[in-house]
């Protein structure tokens, strides 16, 4: 009886060793990440999620216990800039933790496997973790001509996206290309590129646009899911409100200069050196929702406006088409040459109207009119 029980226990132990799923906390301990670094990470991520600091211990507790979800990362019609942003984030511990929290089973850029082996690993992850894995998609999906313009392993991106996103717990469209098509979808869009949500309308998609996406927002999104068991609240463009809920202009460090009326007039002028507002240099901060001013890039080092360059509006849908010209306040007027601003056209319109009426007035002064008369055919009312 006793021997039997011991055998059974040994059997369970062996099974445990084989099938053991490490919790995030255990895993980090094993990797030699100190408790202090882990707690620091939890506070950072709590701040990124725009949650009160008092919730940081809950985040830590939840991450301690939660099992790491499998993640597949698909590279479609994109430049790998988002992978770069993630892998080269300036703070190595945060980057490591991101990769450690996630069990990245498939990532074309960084995985060791290749060819059929890699494709088999992807198929296995999808089959074994139906409804439980995360899918991160980088790059747009070409739809034209049956999606022939992008293939990996003989499968078109569209086909892969339908297969992988369909049974994922959630799909994270990382970067502007995956979210809205990005530069590939810019006019004239030769490949018929679209974002993930448009290509696979049935999937649960979280858009994390940006060129590149801020890796902190990716980590925060995943942590949100691990802690609360659901995807974060999204805005009308499918972006998490914690990261895209405020306009750049309203959180900008140069905003006091905007309100004061101090603008950069030319590159390198006194105002530019003094950190004045970049509004007149075509800054699209007033039209762009992102947490760049507070979250910043590369471990909170900097972001475009801090570096003296106007915001390009990279996290807004079809920004390549709608936010251009990059260094002008307003878009060009369709049908007019690029040197014609809206104001020149408007001024021309006003001057033309005034001129036409001046001529009309002069002609009226010359003519002899019949005065209004109280005749039947002229009855008005």
């Amino acid at each position: 009886m006793g021997k039997k029980r011991a055998d059974a226990a040994r059997g369970r132990q062996a099974e445990d060793l084989e099938e053991r799923h490490y919790s995030v906390g255990e895993l980090l301990k094993e990797r030699g990440v100190s408790r202090r670094s882990f707690l620091k990470f939890c506070s950072t991520v709590t701040a990124a999620l725009a949650l009160p600091a008092s919730l940081a211990p809950s985040v830590a507790r939840a991450l301690d216990q939660v099992q790491r979800p499998p993640l597949v990362w698909l590279e479609f019609q994109g430049c790998t800039g988002d992978s770069e942003a993630l892998l080269r984030s300036a703070n190595p511990t945060v980057g490591e933790i991101v990769l450690d929290i996630l069990s990245v089973d498939y990532h074309e850029t960084i995985m060791a496997a290749a060819g059929h082996q890699a494709e088999a690993a992807l198929d296995k992850t999808i089959a074994d973790n139906k409804g439980k894995y995360f899918c991160v998609i980088e790059g747009s999906i070409p739809m034209k001509d049956g999606g022939v313009y992008g293939c990996v392993g003989g499968k078109s991106h569209l086909e892969r996206a339908r297969q992988v996103c369909g049974s994922a717990a959630a799909t994270i469209a990382i970067g502007t290309c995956a979210s809205y098509g990005g530069i590939a979808a810019a006019s004239p869009n030769p490949t018929g590129a679209v974002g993930v949500k448009e290509a696979v309308p049935g999937a649960t998609v979280i858009n994390l646009p940006g060129c590149p996406c801020n890796a902190d927002n990716l980590t925060a999104t995943i942590v949100h899911y691990l802690v609360f068991g659901k995807i974060p609240a999204l805005d009308g463009h499918g972006r998490p409100l914690f990261a895209y809920g405020k306009r750049i202009h309203d959180n900008c460090e140069r905003r006091p200069h905007f309100d004061a009326g101090q603008y950069v007039e030319h590159w390198g002028d006194d105002g530019h050196r003094g950190g004045f507002c970049l509004y007149k240099m075509g800054c699209k901060g007033p039209a762009t929702f992102h947490n760049c001013p507070t979250q910043r890039y590369n471990g909170k080092t900097s972001w475009p406006v801090a570096a003296g360059h106007p915001c390009a509006g990279c996290s807004e849908p079809s920004f390549w088409d709608t936010m251009s010209p990059m260094y002008r306040r307003l878009p060009n007027v369709p049908g007019f040459g690029i040197e014609h601003s809206a104001d020149m056209i408007g001024l021309g319109l006003a001057a033309g109207t005034a001129g036409a009426f001046a001529v009309h007035g002069a002609l009226n002064a010359l003519r002899k009119d019949k005065e209004p008369a109280n005749r039947d055919e002229n009855k008005e009312g």
Binding site: D235, G236, L241, G245, K246, R247, D250, P256, H257, F258, D259, A260, G261, Q262, Y263, E265, G271, F276, Y279, K280, K284, P286, A287, T288, F289, G313, E316, P317, S318, T322, M323, R329, L330, P331, V333, A342, D343, I345, G346, L347, L349, A350, T353, F357, H360, G361, L363, N364, R367, K368, D369, K370, E371, P372, A373, N374, N378, K379, E380, G381
Partner: protein, 221 residues
């Protein structure tokens, strides 16, 4: 008939005149401040100044005044006298209106020498006002949609949610900007026409917008 007697007639009721001048004043303020918002001049001497802040404050205040004025005018078009009623703004739906419109057009194009006297609005003008009204609607919708972006979780942002699907952010700015120039074009036209008809009709066209009274050769319709 240069010496025929004319009758005094109360045409523009007080709310109509109030709305007209509130619109006029707010449009001037909106155009001037709006132009500076689009193309600011570096007025600020120190970061503690609030030049652009005040310009925007006046722009938004005038925008609210304009919107309230326009809404009041729409309301008054349902309760006011025959000259202010909404029917006056759709003259092309009646044969009489179309006929008068044609006469007015012929006069403007120097094809007719007879001055077509109108007691209330002339039908060509009300057609222009109808177009102007839609321009106003575009201005109000784009303006408040741009304004609401400072509070993307607010009631106004939610109410104008459809605007963000109709326009891109920058497209909304461009529309708002170009519509301003169309309104400037209208204002030039409007002032000129009022001046012209004041001279030609001898009916007190311009002063009627202050007093409410016009002078006509007919006592009643």
């Amino acid at each position: 008939m240069p010496n025929q007697p004319k009758f005094k007639r109360y045409v523009w009721q007080l709310p109509v005149r109030w709305c007209h001048w509130t619109n006029a004043l707010s449009i001037v303020v909106l155009c001037v401040t709006g132009f500076f918002i689009g193309t600011p001049i570096s007025f600020g001497g120190s970061p503690s100044d609030f030049t652009m802040g005040w310009i925007r404050f006046f722009h938004f205040t005038a925008a609210y005044a304009f919107t309230v004025s326009l809404a009041s005018r729409v309301l008054w078009s349902l309760i006011g006298n025959e000259f202010s009623g909404w029917r006056a703004f759709f003259p092309f739906f009646s044969a009489k209106g179309r006929d008068k419109m044609l006469k007015m057009l012929r006069y403007y194009l120097f094809l007719d020498r007879e001055v077509p006297e109108t007691i209330g609005h002339n039908p060509l003008a009300t057609t222009a006002y109808l177009a102007l009204f839609f321009l106003y609607m575009v201005m109000i919708a784009t303006g408040f949609a741009l304004y609401a972006q400072h509070a993307p979780h607010g009631v106004m942002h939610a109410a104008l949610g459809f605007m963000y699907t109709l326009f891109s952010n920058q497209g909304m700015r461009l529309t708002h900007h170009l519509s301003m120039w169309f309104i400037v074009g209208f204002a030039i036209n409007h002032i000129y026409s009022a001046w012209l008809m004041d001279i030609k009709e001898h009916g007190g066209e311009i002063s009627s917008m202050f007093s409410g009274y016009k002078f006509t050769v007919k006592k009643e319709d």
